[in-house]
């Protein structure tokens, strides 16, 4: 018989009291009412544990690093044991052929019942030779594991959008999970961020495992509960933005006073994530609070949007580091000069033809 979550937790030495605390915490972090805590508890006591395969493609492991630093130690312990990560090549003890055998075992044993978590993405160029796992291209492992999974979680910006390895010119053709050709048609939850917030990651897993269904996703496939608002909407420096008070240099008085970082290129106004509310490292801080603008790491193609320190995106078709103002301002100046020259030519043209009366020139 397959163990329930509760069995697993008890076996891991977690007391019932701690278990119930975790259920309330999870309910709170998912934005549910307190009435849901017992429901979560009931689900975890009765439902069989769903195994999770955590695959790694082209990535930097920052997602895993974030995940294991989930703010509430309790939640971390419980979820890690809950997941028990049947396969995660970065943090599991097994290695080599023994480890790779687990993938096949999970796929065979839990057909259609396991969650596939993908960190990083597969490079497609040269038949996927730029990322080899256990002697085979990662893209093949990904397709194989996706074939029989229940749902896919795309961890981080790599799996969700492509991130740095897919930035122009993308020599290895690194491709985000949802765009991999020939991948089984499974529901995909994107949890973008470089890395995503630990509590967001654990909450998504907890939601999937306890409710046995996908959280509500937005049109781009991100869980709405964490990605429905911009950093800017909940930023504690927002009053300075509305007042028009901006940091102009990193060492000016405004910077010391903690004014708005908009002019320093903060991408908070265009970035959907929960950093300004959930924050990082047990709610200690987040980039803007530490004095640096948001770089928009959870947005699609953020590496290709120009400098992190400018508001306007670079438009490289018009030369290196041209932005909308450079392009548009130049166009307007050229048109303005053209108008002036044309008006001058018109006057000259008419002065040259005193005998040739233009229609209506004289009444």
């Amino acid at each position: 018989m397959i163990e329930t979550f509760y069995d697993v937790m008890r076996r891991q030495g977690i007391t019932r009291r701690s278990f119930l605390k975790f259920c309330s915490l999870t309910a709170a972090s998912l934005g549910l009412s307190p009435a849901f805590a017992p429901k979560i508890a009931h689900a975890m006591e009765t439902k069989p544990r769903i195994p999770v395969l955590w695959l790694h493609g082209l990535e930097c492991t920052c997602c895993s690093e974030s995940f294991i630093r989930s703010g509430h130690p309790l939640a971390k312990d419980v979820i890690l044991s809950m997941l028990s990560l049947d396969y995660d090549d970065t943090i599991m003890a097994a290695a080599g052929h023994n480890a790779e055998a687990i993938v096949t075992e999970i796929v065979e044993k839990y057909k259609g019942n396991y969650i596939l978590a993908v960190e990083g993405n597969p490079p497609l160029a040269e038949d996927g030779m730029y990322c080899i796992i256990g002697g085979k291209p990662f893209v093949e492992q990904l397709k194989y594991a996706a074939e029989s999974c229940k749902a896919i979680i795309s961890w981080g910006s790599c799996a969700s959008w492509g991130c740095v390895q897919a930035a122009k010119p993308n020599p290895t053709r690194a491709t985000p999970v949802h765009k991999v050709p020939g991948l089984a048609d499974k529901p995909i939850i994107k949890v973008p961020g470089c890395p995503p917030i630990a509590e967001v990651m654990t909450a998504v897993v907890a939601y999937l495992l306890t409710f046995d269904k996908l959280p509500t996703l937005d049109k781009q496939g991100r869980p709405q509960m964490f990605y429905s608002q911009r950093i800017h909407d909940k930023c504690y420096r927002r009053p300075h933005f509305d007042a028009g008070q901006f940091v102009e240099h990193w060492d000016d008085e405004a910077a010391r006073q903690g004014q708005c970082l908009y002019k320093m290129g903060c991408k908070g106004p265009t970035t959907y994530n929960a950093c300004s509310t959930v924050k990082w490292n047990e709610g200690t801080s987040f980039p803007i609070q530490s004095g640096h603008g948001c770089i928009g790491c959870s947005e699609d193609g953020f590496w290709d949007k120009g400098s992190f320190y400018q508001r306007l995106t670079d438009i490289n078709q018009f030369g290196i580091e041209a932005n909308a103002d450079a392009v548009g301002g130049t166009a307007a100046a050229v048109v303005g000069a053209g108008v002036a020259v044309h008006a001058g030519l018109t006057a000259l043209h008419r002065a040259k033809q005193p005998g040739d009366k233009q229609p209506g020139a004289e009444q």
Partner: protein
């Protein structure tokens, strides 16, 4: 010299009344929009004493609503008004005569043709510019503008439901929508520069009224040259 052609009533009151606030809204939108992307120097003191960026953004949004509602009203009048009211919305792109008129107008501006043709409404080149730059440009700005506005209003708002929900995925991300919104602003600024220049120039040189027509709606002619309105049925 024979008698000039008699004046013709071209632009009905709704078209003329739309023109001025629409122009003012475009100027206000360009100025406030530029200041949103590149804000003014910071005022000192406490944040609670100021609302500079707030007022600039308010001005932008209010002018944006004016532009959008104005275009809706103008579209209605294209339906309800006379044939000239439809001109900038339905250019006769399949008519060879229309394109000949465009060619002739280009030659006129290149100082090659001696005189332009006479038109009751807009000349064919003007129709092209107004249709593709002003009408579609305004529509683009309204759609992307409301999409950006909907981001601030939040996912429960009608702006989000009608605009942001599909515009953001279409462009991929919010930053790209900002960039395009900004670029098309400059396109419309270029249009305004040329629009004002040629209106004054044509008033002086083309033998037909322009500036007075903007105000009173009547097109007067200074001679009896034949009228060549490609758009007329």
């Amino acid at each position: 010299m024979s008698q000039p052609k008699p004046p013709i009533y071209v632009y009905e009151a709704p078209v003329r009344i739309w023109h001025a606030p629409n122009g003012l809204a475009i100027v206000a939108l360009a100025v406030t929009g530029y200041l949103i992307a590149a804000p003014l120097p910071s005022p000192g003191g406490e944040a609670s004493e100021h609302f500079l960026m707030g007022y600039i953004r308010f001005g932008h949004f209010a002018a944006g609503y004016l532009l959008a509602i104005g275009l809706l009203g103008r579209l209605y009048w294209a339906y309800a008004g006379n044939a000239h009211a439809r001109q900038i919305f339905l250019p006769p792109l399949l008519s060879a005569h229309f394109w000949d008129g465009v060619r002739q107008e280009v030659l006129w501006y290149a100082f090659i043709a001696k005189a332009p043709r006479h038109y009751i409404g807009h000349n064919p080149l003007a129709i092209l510019a107004m249709h593709f730059v002003l009408v579609w440009g305004s529509l683009f700005m309204i759609v992307t503008g409301f999409a950006l506005y909907g981001e601030g209003e939040g996912q429960g708002s009608w702006q989000w439901a009608l605009f942001s929900s599909w515009v953001l995925p279409l462009f991929g991300d919010s930053q790209s929508v900002h960039s395009w919104h900004h670029l098309v602003m400059w396109l419309i600024v270029c249009f305004v520069l040329i629009h004002v220049y040629v209106a004054i120039r044509e008033d002086k040189l083309s033998g037909q009224s322009m500036l007075a027509t903007i105000v009173n709606g009547w097109r007067t002619f200074k001679d009896d040259k034949p009228i060549d309105d490609a758009h007329r049925p």
